[in-house]
């Protein structure tokens, strides 16, 4: 066939899509703004719910894009995006033109910037960290406070930047609950003496084996789950994080001192995605992610013919869903060429 498809974004969705496209015989350019492919998966330690090492997924994806028909362009981003009747012309920052017969947008998500939830004091109080910061600590194999000491009490705050009008996001990021459970278990694994608390509004364990992980967290690891959204954090004279929350099941306010507070940052449309949206005229939804033509049966199609969406640029998804979504994007690309050829 020899058709050329540009895939924008070299994370899970982009790599999976590129690999599948190559398998189907397309010429593929995989454009990634970072110096390395892999996206967020590079930053994770172990994956939920089975807690396999994230490097296994990364290895799988790396193998997927070894085909000769995939040209990987890291450190590259798109500066111009022109649509023509019979294809697209994209220009990278150094003026290189990429002519494409179709484009797959796989620009992924950004983590919510937790400093925007001012009341939690991220970036102000030393031992308020994000789920991503904790993941980095796991990868280093050492969980420590700013003074190098080991925390004895750790709290997790769910829904940071999700389900929150004040943060500008009405939606649920869907994966933070299970991530919090996973990380809570891992804290207990690393620090068996520690006490771990999880402050949630609803435990949204809607994936295969998620609820089981939650149960394990209670049964095996003794994680304390307290139903209430943390209202504020502050710092005591002893450098402890003082939190205020309502224990809604007891119907009373609760005050607690913690050594470390972990903010479960939600998922947002990525900056890269926003840039592409501005260049290309691709539509965004009210949640600011890209808006597929139809959420039920055209979830990979966009308002621009020949441009397809793959992965979390359309909504929060886990890795399984991202990979499936990338594959279905490829099947839509195939349909597209079949229809335009005939």
């Amino acid at each position: 066939m020899g058709k050329h498809v540009v895939v924008i974004g070299g994370g899970t969705a982009g790599m999976e899509a590129a690999g599948q496209l190559a398998k189907e015989g397309f010429e593929v350019s995989l454009v990634e703004k970072e110096e390395e492919t892999g996206g967020h998966i590079k930053d994770w330690y172990k994956l939920f719910p089975d807690r396999r090492n994230s490097s296994e997924i990364r290895d799988y994806l790396e193998k997927k894009v070894t085909s000769k028909s995939i040209r990987i362009m890291t450190g590259t981003y798109i500066e111009k995006f022109h649509s023509y009747r019979d294809g697209f012309s994209l220009f990278t920052q150094d003026g290189t033109e990429l002519k494409a017969d179709a484009v797959v947008v796989a620009t992924g998500f950004d983590l919510f910037k937790s400093e925007k939830k001012e009341e939690y004091g991220y970036g102000i109080y030393d031992n308020v960290i994000t789920s991503a910061d904790l993941e980095a600590m796991f990868r280093k194999g050492k969980i420590s406070m700013s003074d190098g000491m080991t925390p004895k009490t750790v709290g997790f705050v769910h829904c940071v930047g999700s389900r929150d009008e004040k943060a500008g996001n009405f939606y649920c990021s869907k994966l933070c609950c299970v991530t919090a459970v996973k990380q809570a278990i891992e804290v207990r694994e690393h620090l068996p003496e520690s006490k771990v608390f999880s402050f949630y509004m609803d435990m949204r364990m809607g994936g295969a084996y998620y609820e089981e992980l939650y149960r394990e967290a209670q049964e095996v690891w003794g994680i304390n789950f307290i139903r209430g959204k943390v209202s504020e954090a502050s710092e005591s004279i002893n450098n402890k994080i003082v939190i205020k929350v309502e224990d809604t099941l007891a119907g009373r306010p609760l005050k607690m001192e913690l050594d470390m507070l972990v903010l479960m940052a939600g998922m947002e449309m990525s900056e890269g995605g926003n840039r592409i949206a501005a260049l290309s005229g691709l539509k965004k939804g009210e949640n600011r992610f890209f808006a597929p033509l139809d959420h039920h049966f055209a979830n990979n199609l966009s308002n621009v013919k020949g441009v397809f969406f793959a992965g979390t640029c359309t909504a929060p998804m886990n890795i399984t869903e991202t990979i499936s979504h990338a594959r279905s994007a490829v099947s839509e690309v195939i349909n597209y060429f079949n229809n335009t050829n005939s």
Binding site: R163, D164, E165, K166, A167, M201, G228, E232, T248, G251
Partner: protein, 235 residues
């Protein structure tokens, strides 16, 4: 029985203060009243949004709606953009409108607020009236306040006040024409009506409780509502 939810919706503050609540408890977590009273703004919002007319009537007659201090800390934090404090204000307004406020110890205190602050606004144009805030009603003002009140002309004079004087300045006498305008505004906008309702229902309640309620603040019922705390409001 009236539809209380519909009545509440006529209050602009109710419209501003209540979207859909998801019971996260962020308001109760930092609510000063929830800390020191048997009070949970989350539950009140949840009850109101349920629309259960019987339950709302109970609420309008309850102690609970009078615990809030209207600091509005709840509004800062609510992830759904609600303001429980504004909803409370609407509930209190309706409770007084319907005469339900006299059914609770805390609600009955509205007469005390009306006969002090309320009266001072109409008589003097200020929410506070120096000579009305003595250490008899306000012992916590301490010895310095006795000294100030004993020497108020000199103390206020030294600090540049224009006590009861003409023209601008601190605690000046507000001109008669200006006071007339304020009273007219109260008449036109329902301020007087609110005052009259508070008086009317309080007098009925005083009779029912067999207590003497004359004009002003020097009477049995006023002293009772001003001082009584049956101790059931806190833990």
């Amino acid at each position: 029985m009236e539809n209380y939810l519909e009545l509440l919706k006529q209050d602009i503050r109710f419209e501003e203060g209540l979207n859909a609540c998801m019971n996260c408890g962020v308001c109760t977590a930092i609510c000063p009243a929830a800390e020191f009273y048997n009070y949970d703004p989350r539950k009140i919002i949840d009850l109101v949004q349920s629309g259960d007319n019987n339950e709302i009537e109970k609420l309008l007659k309850s102690e609970e709606i009078w615990y809030c201090g209207e600091c509005m800390s709840c509004k800062t934090r609510c992830p759904r953009g609600n303001a429980p404090g504004l909803v409370i204000m609407a509930l209190r307004g309706l409770s007084q409108e319907l005469g339900f406020f006299v059914e609770s110890e805390k609600g009955r205190q509205q007469l005390a607020v009306k006969r002090t602050v309320g009266q001072w606004i109409l008589d003097h144009g200020y929410c506070l009236y120096l000579e009305g805030v003595g250490t008899d009603l306000h012992p916590e003002q301490g010895p310095v306040w006795d000294w100030i009140q004993d020497n108020y002309r000199e103390v206020f004079h030294r600090l540049g006040a224009n006590y009861q004087g003409e023209g601008p300045g601190i605690l000046r006498k507000i001109p008669v024409e200006a006071m007339e305008e304020i009273r007219k505004i109260f008449e036109v906008t329902g301020g007087n009506r609110r005052y009259e309702k508070i008086e009317y229902y309080s007098k009925k309640k005083a009779e029912e409780m067999n207590m003497k309620l004359d004009e002003g603040i020097d009477n049995e019922y006023f002293r009772y509502i001003y001082k009584t705390n049956n101790g059931s409001h806190t833990k």
